[in-house]
């Protein structure tokens, strides 16, 4: 059985009379323990897809199933990391994580939650920053905290909406490696849907890449590299170059279609 199944899903926004089509007849599925990236240019509908998976929006048409059951609304089985503003500004890093733990596991005492929170913050390399408020942390540190909080809530499915999109290049590399490392250490393998517009990031992290355009999935790529992955080895391999080329041509095909089939000279 698929962990996640999106079947013939369409999503329309009704904004003061103007109907806007965000997703059109989309189909895909994710297997248990699989890391799937959804990639595409801005406005292709990838964030709308994630908001359906998170339960923030209901599909206008079609079905969204988890473990074979139709899913409505948000749920404890899913954890989400957004690009911005995931953390509560009035809680310290530790309080943010501990608050998440207490929401997911209401029986936890404050002391236990705070101990678990500290342990997770150590895992994401934030030892010594437990008492800092989000405004005192860099963007990268905030995302580390958000990842720690989501993992500490122990969801089966992890949804990441361009979590490193606003991070500078060097820190993005550190965070990608950190994500892989932390995920490999989790007791149960998480099912992950990762939204990004960064081709390298998608190849490095995922088992499968879904290329999205025109409001549905257009292409699907399996990533052949075994885990644990080594960044340099992957980036030097022939498979990587072929794959990157294929994904790039998907992007440019989209651009060609948009400007009316003319050849794009770069």
């Amino acid at each position: 059985m698929h962990k996640i199944e999106i079947s013939n899903v369409s999503l329309t926004y009704n904004d003061d009379g103007t109907v806007y089509n965000a997703l059109d007849q989309m189909n895909f599925s994710v297997e248990p323990g699989e890391f799937v990236s959804i990639i595409g240019s801005s406005g292709c509908g990838k964030s709308s897809t994630l908001s359906i998976l998170a339960g923030l929006r209901e599909p206008t048409e079609g079905q969204f199933l988890i473990d074979g059951n139709v899913s409505h609304g948000t749920g404890r089985n899913r954890g989400v990391v957004f690009q911005h503003y995931s953390l509560f500004p009035w809680m310290t890093a530790e309080e943010n994580v501990a608050f998440g733990i207490r929401q997911a596991f209401p029986d936890t005492t404050e002391k236990e939650a705070s101990d678990i929170a500290r342990a997770y913050l150590v895992k994401v390399g934030l030892e010594g920053f437990e008492e800092k408020y989000p405004y005192q942390l860099s963007g990268g540190m905030q995302q580390r905290t958000a990842i720690a909080r989501t993992l500490a809530m122990q969801p089966e499915i992890l949804l990441l909406d361009e979590p490193f999109g606003a991070i500078d290049a060097r820190n993005r590399i550190l965070l990608q490696d950190l994500l892989l490392e932390v995920l490999s250490k989790e007791k149960e393998q998480k099912t992950i849907v990762f939204v990004t517009h960064d081709i390298d990031e998608a190849i490095l992290l995922s088992d499968r890449i879904l290329f999205m355009d025109q409001k549905h999935i257009l292409e699907e790529f399996y990533v052949p590299f075994s885990r644990p992955r080594n960044r340099e080895q992957i980036f030097q391999s022939q498979e990587y170059i072929r794959m990157r080329q294929a994904l790039l041509s998907c992007f440019f095909q989209g651009i060609r279609d948009k400007i009316g089939g003319e050849e794009v000279v770069l």
Binding site: L56, F88, Q103, A104, M153, L159
Partner: protein
């Protein structure tokens, strides 16, 4: 010596002169308040129109000022503030005791006004207690209801679209205008003044909270939703702390408004309190106590605002 060397020497001497002037100005600046203090002391002990009033309270006030100056010698603002205060005291002292044709009933001397604090302090404390009680009850009620209704209004679009326009029509009515009617209709003066204080603070907090909740960042709400927060957690851990900094910012204005309304109400129908204190003695033409009462109200409001500022620093630590 060459001309160039001469010019350099001239330049140096001018710059020496300039630094000398700057230094002198600085020294004068630091000495000035103490000089004014000495002038004031001389004036106080020079015979004038009012030599019978005990001077202890006035001297105590001046002693507090001097001590503050000596303790915080590096504070330029305190230095300037004390210069201004001493100048005002000097004008006041000369105008009421040393000038010709003084009228100590209409224009009481500083010694007389400050002496009220020394002799009437039980009455004053009682007035403060009574006023703060009314303020505290009205304020707490307004805060709780304002926040609860404000959050409800801000988060439900239908309530927002219907209640906010109404609130914007009702809220600009100066609450002071309710006072005569409230005093007439409500059973006790206490309830009437609590009601008036309540309505002077409630609208401000209610509208403030409703507006900030309705403009809350959608991403923050999404994040909270994906964490499956209970309604109580959403209220106490997300919406309330989200509004808190804005509430704390409007609080000093709210308190000042409420105090204005309260003292006005006390002047109409109370039998205790700070506003009553002023009106009662005004009826007897005891303007010394009237002025002391006005000072007192200023001091109490300032103390409250100082307390709020301290509370804000303690409660809102995430900015």
């Amino acid at each position: 010596m060459t001309t160039a060397a001469l010019q350099i020497k001239k330049g140096i001497s001018i710059s020496c002169l300039a630094t000398g002037v700057v230094k002198a100005v600085r020294t004068i600046q630091w000495i000035l308040p103490h000089v004014l203090f000495a002038v004031l002391l001389t004036l106080i002990f020079t015979p004038g129109a009012d030599d019978s009033t005990p001077k202890g309270a006035f001297l105590a006030v001046l002693a507090i000022g001097e001590t503050a100056l000596l303790l915080r010698r590096n504070s330029r603002s305190l230095n300037d503030i004390m210069v201004i205060l001493y100048l005002l005291f000097i004008v006041w002292e000369i105008g009421t005791t040393k000038a010709d044709d003084v009228n100590l009933i209409l224009y009481p001397s500083p010694a007389k006004v400050f002496d009220v604090f020394a002799t009437d302090w039980p009455k004053i404390l009682d007035g403060i207690r009574s006023s703060l009680y009314l303020l505290g009850v009205g304020f707490t009620a307004a805060l709780i209801l304002g926040v609860l209704l404000g959050i409800a209004t801000g988060s439900v679009a239908r309530l927002r679209d219907s209640l906010l326009p109404l609130a914007k029509v009702i809220s600009p009515i100066p609450p002071i205008i309710y006072t005569p009617y409230a005093v007439a209709v409500l059973p006790t003066f206490e309830i009437a003044s609590i009601f008036v204080i309540f309505s002077s603070i409630f609208w401000q907090i209610y509208i403030q909270v409703a507006l900030s909740v309705s403009s809350i960042d959608q991403k923050l709400l999404d994040s909270a939703k994906t964490m499956n927060l209970s309604a109580a957690a959403m209220f106490f851990h997300v919406l309330w702390p989200y509004c808190l900094p804005n509430i704390m910012k409007t609080l000093p204005i709210s308190v000042a408004n409420a105090f204005m309304v309260l003292t006005a109400a006390e002047m109409i129908g109370a039998t205790s309190g700070l506003g009553y204190f002023v009106r009662y003695y005004a009826d007897f033409a005891d303007y010394t106590r009237v002025i002391a009462g006005i000072f007192l109200i200023g001091i109490v409001v300032s103390a409250l605002n100082y307390g709020i500022a301290g509370l804000e620093r303690k409660v809102v630590r995430w900015h």
